[in-house]
């Protein structure tokens, strides 16, 4: 099986984020990491390759710094990587990101495309589904298990309220992968060394520009959410805080 894994670099979970001058995006210069569900998507692709053979290709779109995501994927076992490299890719909506990916892989023939189920920055939860529609492929979202079947694949979808559902579908297909589908591996030293010699294809914005249109949705303003709740902050030494909190639990919240 030949599998493409769409991966995104996002700010680290505990990175302190500040608004930029325009108030429409965050300031650069924070620490970044692989979007968590994308790491699970990569792991699942590597496991499928180990079972069935084939090839795993990682793709990302973003500035030069995003190459780190691909280096990590190669070190963990991806065979090659594609980098849609330009600062402008960060500002694309889900439709345009999917169009850019589709344009970058137009000469490839994948059996499966994996994405994480959503990103920690925009949180659209759309790019994989849109990509499937652009390619004319079926898709399934929030996948917790995947096996080959005689006619294609059988996947386990997570539904709400603790329900699941198996879906049989033909290949090629796009799957959005849920965190926790597997256990992540660490890159080995030898893997990190080998990664340096693996192919990494850079795709410039100009090469996919003709596939893009102006964004259909636009962030007018980004801001720290207004608080709707009155919060009382407890301060002092740990033992002071413990005493104050117990007093609240007992006398105001009546739970003790």
């Amino acid at each position: 099986m030949k599998i493409l894994v769409c991966m995104k670099q996002v700010p680290q979970k505990d990175a302190p984020l500040k608004l930029n001058e325009s108030g429409q995006w965050i300031r650069e210069g924070v620490s970044y990491e692989v979007n968590e569900p994308d790491a699970y998507a990569l792991e699942e692709a590597l496991r499928q390759k180990e079972k069935h053979g084939g090839e795993v290709v990682a793709i990302t779109s973003g500035p030069a710094r995003a190459q780190q995501v691909l280096r990590e994927a190669l070190a963990k076992g991806a065979d090659r990587a594609i980098h849609l490299e330009d600062d402008a890719f960060v500002a694309l909506d889900a439709l345009n990101t999917a169009r850019a990916i589709a344009a970058a892989i137009k000469d490839e023939q994948f059996d499966l495309i994996f994405t994480g189920l959503q990103s920690d920055d925009y949180g659209f939860a759309q790019t994989g589904v849109v990509l499937a529609e652009l390619l004319g492929w079926p898709h399934a979202t929030i996948i917790m298990h995947l096996e080959k079947s005689e006619t294609g694949i059988r996947v386990k979808r997570e539904l709400e309220a603790g329900f699941f559902q198996y879906v049989n579908m033909p290949l090629p297909a796009v799957l959005t992968i849920q965190s926790g589908i597997n256990k992540l591996r660490y890159a080995t030293l030898i893997g990190i060394k080998q990664a340096k010699n693996k192919p990494l294809r850079k795709v410039a914005l100009a090469e996919v520009q003709s596939a893009l249109t102006p964004n259909l949705q636009k962030i007018e303003r980004l801001y720290v959410p207004q608080k709707t709740k009155k919060t009382e902050t407890l301060e002092g030494s740990p033992s002071d805080i413990a005493k104050k909190l117990v007093d609240k639990l007992r006398n105001e919240l009546h739970v003790l």
Binding site: P16, G123, F124, Q126, H139, E158, V167, K218, I241, H254
Partner: protein, 330 residues
Amino acid sequence: MPDTILVIVEQQQGKLNRVSWETIAAAQAIAADTGWAVEAAVAGHNIAAAAVEVAGKKLRKVHAVDAPQLDRYTPDAFAAALQQLIAAKQPKLVLLPHTYQVRDFAPKLATRLGRCVISDCTGYKHDAAKLLFTRQMFQGKFSADVGFGSDGPWMATFQNGAFRGDQAEPGTAAAPVESFAVTFDAAARNQPEDWFKEAKQAVDLTQAEIIVSVGRGIKEQKNIELAQQLATALGGEIAASRPICDNGWLPMDRQIGSSGQTVSPKLYLALGISGAIQHIVGMKGARAVVAINKDSEAPIFEIADVAVVGNLFDIVPPLIEEIKKAKAGS
């Protein structure tokens, strides 16, 4: 004729999803601001009763899209059917509840229409004739006001709990229900099997009055014990955010959030939980939220009644002692 807002409600086996009422309430609120009319659509098979139930709300009409191909959800059939409905009715705005099913087909539907979806909205703003949708970004650290950059139909999905379902206004008379016939060019490619649950849930957190919930801030599996001691001292249940259950540090049935249980205890004590949207939707109904987190900008503090900015490993041990003392004295 005024522009139309079309609400696509969600039903499973004739039972309407609760978030559908919230989305109708959202549409009615937007209609009050814009002067647009609100219509609803129900898609599925044998949905007559569900359509009549929806028609009890204040709506101009209800479209019943009934076909055997829509009996068991597939993205192919739902996108095909709703594409035909939207093409025929040309609503200005299409609103949907942000359910797992909608997440599965709405981006596909929008792409087919050459449009986009503003997903997972928590509210809207209407000023100077401009309609903006508010959604959370960066895991709830920021909110964004997002506008459409094209003509309609515009599409947006509303998060569970963004509006109150009981505020969906009833109509003075039942809205007319019209059936809308759809055709399918091809059989759906996905073949879904029955819904099922994993092993029986060992614990029903929805009944718990006190919940001590742990997030990434707990750092290591061995530290779960500390949170468990706090839960025991309070006489409550232990729960967790998704990453903790993904790591196997607590069983999946103790997960709170969009993919876990939705709870509304008297006390929700969040230890080292940052407060990503997916977690918040599962616990924002709590009567009181106490949050302990070392990051003063953690989104959990937005909804906390009592905030403690500090290291949970410093605060929890004396807290357990104080609780024991208080209980012993009572």
